[in-house]
Point group: C2
Chain length 349, copies 2
């Protein structure tokens, strides 16, 4: 092929693509047998295995003009790894099914692969296998496995009246970033070559794709592109005796509503305790009068914070912010506010 030509996955062929992908990946320490056979084999030292799966579809969960391949890989891995953490488990591997258009540039796939690899590394794991097929649009099926290390899984149903509700990780950042993208105030995917550092979201990392936004707002756009779930806080919460936990993927109100329903309790949030960073006011100012940053915190998905209930005598580490308490009622209330609800329905939203 000519120097400078874009090589596509169609030109490389199925086995060439698979070999290209596996060559860029790092192995999870739990992998006993990696890619290249009918199936992978992993350690499951606990004698149980935690498993979760998500499907991400171009135009619905991501846009290639808003997020680079690297960012899409990071985000796709992150949302599954967060589900493992939300059970109180440590991830042991990811497997990934990819549908790709034949004209996808191999460089884009490389970036996607690197994003998966780097996000997995942040959570102490790697991609153990996958499958690839031709598709008209990009479609990503991600399955994550995890190990409970002898702890009971932290489900959604153990919250009891009097328990403390606390969150770890960020709330509303991704929603604020998405609002900036939707308003056309930031646009363009970060080129793969600028997104490679696997250490998180250094300010300005995504500046190349955010059209001259102030650095603080760029960080919000980056939060949409690359969520930062607090992986270590999942097993930590389990160790502290958390009675219910989930990751906030559809919005705090909606997701805590799931905890309330599954536990047969109510949850009352203290609005003064909800963390609303100052940068949200700046973002709201840029977007206009209609915007209330509290909405981002209460209904914004995609940051993959962890929300958990703890017995009242638990001393919470600093990563956990108490935001309310479990009551004998039902649903989620906010002190001083009328009943609210909101969130994301994948068929209606």
């Amino acid at each position: 092929m000519h120097r400078g030509c874009v090589i596509t996955v169609g030109e490389l062929g199925e086995f060439g693509v698979i070999s290209r992908i596996t060559g860029r990946l790092s192995q999870s320490p739990a992998v006993l047998l990696g890619p290249g056979d009918d199936a992978a084999v992993l350690t499951a030292p606990d004698g149980r295995v935690v498993v979760t799966t998500d499907v991400l579809i171009e135009g619905r969960h991501f846009r290639r003009d808003w997020s680079s391949g690297y960012d899409i890989g990071r985000k796709s891995a992150a949302q599954n790894l967060a589900d493992i953490a939300a059970m109180g488990a440590e991830p042991t591997s990811l497997v990934v099914g990819l549908g790709l258009p034949a004209d996808t540039a191999i460089e884009w796939l490389d970036a996607l692969t690197d994003g998966f690899r780097d996000e997995c590394a942040l959570a102490g794991t790697g991609v153990a296998g996958g499958d690839i097929a031709r598709s008209e649009i990009v479609m990503i099926g991600v399955t994550a496995l995890g190990d409970l290390g002898g702890r009971p899984p932290v489900t959604r149903s153990g919250a009891r009246p009097g328990h403390i509700v606390a969150v770890a990780g960020r709330l509303g950042y991704a929603a604020a970033g998405l609002a900036l993208l939707r308003a056309g105030l930031a646009s363009g995917a970060v080129p793969a070559s600028e997104g490679v550092p696997g250490t998180g979201d250094a300010p300005g990392e995504g500046a190349g794709g955010s059209g001259g936004l102030p650095p603080g707002l760029v960080a919000l756009v980056d939060a949409h592109r690359r969520p930062r779930p607090p992986y270590a806080q999942g097993p930590e919460a389990a160790g502290l005796g958390a009675t219910a936990m989930l990751d906030v993927s559809d919005g705090l109100l909606q997701d805590l509503g799931h905890v309330a329903a599954a536990s047969g309790v109510g949850i009352r949030l203290d609005p003064a305790a909800l963390p609303i960073p100052e940068i949200f006011a700046e973002a709201a100012g840029v977007l206009g009068d209609e915007v209330d940053p509290l909405d981002w915190v209460l209904t914004g998905g995609d940051d993959h914070a962890l929300a958990a209930a703890f017995p009242p005598d638990v001393r919470l580490p600093p990563e956990w912010t108490p935001i309310g308490e479990v009551t004998a009622g039902e649903g989620v209330q906010i002190t001083g506010h009328p009943t609210m609800s909101g969130g994301w329905d994948h068929f209606r939203g």
Copy 2:
């Protein structure tokens, strides 16, 4: 809603759809925590877990006018469960990611769900969880987990010169059925209500969708719609000391080529030993002079037979048919024939 109206997944909404699906499923005995939380929890008594994933895309892996939702569910489950069997493992669960158009009739989704449930039941397992999202076409990401029961995994790399090569299950049936469908000699998906028996492919089961074909040929079309992997023969082969194994998904020649390459050996097939059922001659006759049934056996994918190498002193049970031997050479040869190759590349095919 009015009686007689088609209810769509868009009308039911994400949580309605999930509830509808989970209500139709049977639980795998390995499931400790099923659908409804961030992740499922399964037993992994072996201390290791086998995992495999596949992505199936409408128009590429299945057609809704050629296969019913029920058949697509059966087939999607089967190809992953066969991968678990090919490692010598027993399946412990499936997780399924679904992309669905909003106008998908809920009845079609019910049939798909039933297909997953029934195929899993044939393999002694069930669906433990999943995810659902809106998509322009149907996309199915399936991940299967399995347990090795203390046995070593049977990889592709252990075949040694002098070993016997044998197959269990069907070869070429699905390819013959696909040829009939492509020739327009059979068409139309089997309605969900006719496909419900979970006991396999009783002759005529699919007759409603095969346009008056003779029963023998209908069985071939059904084989394309619902493969019958020999699940029990995977762990059986492992117990007998199989040194290499895989499931035939891209064609016998191509797949045995993977075993030869991974093991650093050659494989010589005895054409007289290859099972070519009489019905293939009838199908070839209907299709015309160009068709050689041996091609279906050698290059047809999608039946998910198991192919394995065994030490020469192993007494093979009747489900296993010896078809050749491992040699000191390389590649796959057929005694008396020039070197052949063939199979399926998902980007080039």
